[in-house]
């Protein structure tokens, strides 16, 4: 009886273990057991000037996105699983969230808010190999930087 009680949970978890094992096996192709990535970096400019605040996100049709912060030169470097590892080859929709923190109750937008949504930004990227010049040029389209309070 005691033996049954002890064993029951184990036998129930066997299918789950199988699932986990197969999940880990899928997508082998790199030393770390994860899909192969290529380094990707570039510059985001708005009205021709570096976008110095915010971040960039590469969103695939399905699966794990990659992202990176913008620095004071408007440059980003993608991280997917490990710092600076880039992302997998493929097609991406790209989001640019150009916000600067102004403390707990406000942030300044240095780029139009529509770009924060990869589905609405109109920005795309094709990743085939390593790139350090995967640049994006966006515009205010007549609008101006503004402060959002909350």
């Amino acid at each position: 009886m005691m033996r049954d009680l002890l064993q029951a949970p184990c036998s129930r978890s066997l299918p789950l273990l199988g699932l986990i094992a197969s999940a880990l096996l899928v997508g082998l192709g790199c030393d770390d057991g994860r899909p192969a990535r290529v380094p990707i970096s570039g510059t985001v400019t708005i009205e021709g000037q570096p976008l110095k605040f915010g971040s960039v996100s590469f969103v695939p049709a399905a699966g794990r996105p990659a992202g990176g912060a913008l620095d004071s030169n408007g440059r980003y470097e993608l991280t997917c699983y490990e710092k600076g590892d880039g992302t997998m080859a493929g097609e991406y929709k790209v989001a640019v969230t150009g916000v600067e923190s102004l403390g707990e109750h406000a942030q300044r937008w240095h780029a139009p808010q529509k770009y924060r949504d990869a589905q609405a930004s109109g920005l795309t990227a094709t990743v085939e190999g390593p790139r350090d010049d995967l640049n994006f040029e966006i515009t205010w389209d007549g609008a101006k930087p503004f402060v959002e309070k909350f």
Binding site: A23, R34, K83, S101, R116
Partner: protein, 95 residues
């Protein structure tokens, strides 16, 4: 939804608050591409990713008391749907 905001405000609990904004096991201290969960001074750069020391994912406990291992390759739409009931979201994919 919470993850659509560029920055999530949460006082000083930079090491405790988590969201499905950023992928599972995303390296700490880095921006996952949708802003950071940050303190007011924007110093800690916590990205709020759920993380674990398990290779390839993390074990999540759900409100109905079941727990599953979710791989870090999970589709982000499904992952985010799991964390909200907004819009009647029902994850329609396996992971």
């Amino acid at each position: 939804m919470l993850w659509k905001k560029g920055v999530i405000r949460q006082g000083h609990r930079v090491n405790s608050i988590r969201s499905t904004t950023t992928p599972i096991n995303f390296p700490s201290g880095l921006d996952g591409g949708r802003g950071v969960v940050t303190d007011a001074a924007n110093v800690n750069k916590a990205n709020g990713a759920f993380s674990s020391r398990h290779a390839g994912g993390a074990v999540f406990a759900f409100g109905d008391a079941h727990a599953i291992f979710i791989p870090e390759s999970i589709d982000m739409t499904v992952y985010r749907q799991l964390s909200t009931r907004a819009n009647g979201d029902v994850p329609d994919a396996t992971f």
